[in-house]
C-alpha cells in the first residue's frame, strides 16, 4: 500500500512537471510535505540543497531520497520508477511521431522557429550558472551585480576552461574535474 502511494505521488510529479528543473519544486513540496508528510519542510529544503550539489534532476533526486527515507531501497526504486514512467510513455510516443513525420512542411516550419529559441534557452541557463559561480549567488538581479564581489578564482577557472574547450576540444568532463581540483586547492588550502 505504501509502495503504491509512493508510486502514485511521484507519478503525478513526473506527469505535471513541465519545464523541468525548478518548475518541479512546488509540485514535489505539495506531494511530499503537505499531503503525505513524508518529509518536514526543513528536510525538503535539504533535498533541494543536495540536488544542487549532486548530479541528476531534482525530481529523481527527491524521489530517491524520499523513497529511501520512507521504506528503504525498494521504496527508492518504486518512487523513482513512478517519477519517470509518464515521461517514458509520452516522450516515446512523441519521438515516434517526430521520426515518422519530421519531413512534413508543417513540422519543419514549427522547428524553424524552435531551433534558435532552444539555443537561447541553453545560453540563458548557462549564464545563470555563470552568475551563480562568479558571485556566489549574492547577485539578486542582473542589474544589481556588484563587480567588486566577483569570485576571482571562479572567473579565472571559467575563462581558462572556456579557452581550453574552444582550442583543444577535450572531453568536457576533464575540464569540470580539473576545475573541481583547482577549486579544492584554492578555496580549501589558500
Amino acid at each position: 500500500m505504501l509502495y503504491l502511494k509512493l508510486f502514485w505521488s511521484f507519478f503525478q510529479i513526473g506527469l505535471f512537471s513541465i519545464g523541468g528543473g525548478y518548475a518541479a519544486m512546488p509540485l514535489i513540496q505539495k506531494q511530499v510535505v503537505d499531503m503525505n508528510h513524508w518529509l518536514s519542510m526543513n528536510e525538503f529544503v535539504d533535498v533541494v540543497t543536495i540536488s544542487q550539489m549532486t548530479p541528476g534532476p531534482i525530481a529523481i533526486n527527491s524521489a530517491t531520497f524520499v523513497g529511501m527515507r520512507v521504506s528503504g531501497t525498494l521504496g527508492a526504486i518504486v518512487a523513482t520508477v513512478g517519477c519517470i514512467f509518464p515521461s517514458c510513455v509520452i516522450v516515446l510516443l512523441i519521438a515516434y511521431f517526430y521520426y515518422k513525420y519530421q519531413n512534413l512542411w508543417v513540422i519543419q516550419g514549427a522547428l524553424k522557429g524552435l531551433r534558435p529559441a532552444v539555443v537561447s534557452l541553453i545560453a540563458s541557463a548557462g549564464l545563470s550558472i555563470l552568475v551563480l559561480a562568479l558571485f556566489n549567488g549574492s547577485a539578486v538581479s542582473w542589474f544589481g551585480i556588484n563587480l567588486s564581489e566577483i569570485d576571482v578564482v571562479a572567473a579565472i577557472l571559467f575563462v581558462t576552461g572556456f579557452i581550453i574547450l574552444r582550442k583543444f576540444k577535450p572531453n568536457p568532463v576533464y575540464v569540470m574535474l580539473g576545475c573541481g581540483a583547482v577549486g579544492l586547492i584554492c578555496y580549501q588550502f589558500i
Binding site: A76, A95, G109, A110, G113, L121, Y187
Partner: protein, 222 residues
Amino acid sequence: MHTPLPYLDKAVACIYDKIISKLRLMGDTSLYMNKSIRLYGKLFTSTFYLSAFTFGGGYVIIPLMHKKFVEKYRWIEEKEMLDLTAIAQSTPGAMAVNASILIGYRLAGVFGAFVTILGTILPPLIILSVISLFYNEFQENAVIKAILKGMNAGVAAVVADVTVTMGKGIINEKNMFAVLIMIVSFSAVFFFNMDVILIILACAILGLAVTIYGRYKQRGMT
C-alpha cells in the same frame, strides 16, 4: 549513383533483406548480435557517464550530449539535436531523462530508450541513496563544498562552449528570422523570466506562420 532501373535497387534491397533474415533464422546471429550488444553497451556507458556529471540541472546535460553524440560519435546531426532538445523541454518530466529517452530511441529503438533511461537514472539513484544515509556529514564537509564551487565554474565554461558552437550554426544560416528569434527569446527568458513553455509555443507558431507565408508568396508568383 543513378541506376536506370529504379526497381532494381528495390529488388536488390529486398533480396538482401531476405538473406539477412534467413541467416538470422538459421542462428548465425553472432555478428549481428555482437554489433547490437556493443551499441547498447555504448549507449548505457555514455548516458551513465553523462548523468553522473550533470551538475546544475536539466540544461547542462544537453551540452554534454552534444559533445558526445554530435561532435564525438557523429551519431546525431546538429539540427536534430536542437529538435530533440525542444521536445525534451516541452514534454513532462525531467529534461535529462527525456533527452536520453529520445537519444536511445533514435539510435536503437524502444529497447535502446530503456537502456539509456537506466543509464541516466542509476547515478542519481545510487548517489542519493548513499547521501540520504550520510546527509549531515556530507553537508558540513568543507572539502566537498570547495570542489563543487570549482566545478560550478567548469560547468559554466562547458555550457558557454556549446552555446557558441550552436549559435554559430544558427548565425551561419544567414537567416534574419532565426537570429531575431534567438535574440528575442534570450531576452525574454534571461531578463524577463518569461515562462519557457510559453516561449517554445510562441516560437513554434511563429516559425509555422513564416513558413506558411513563404509558401503562399511562392504560389502567388508562379
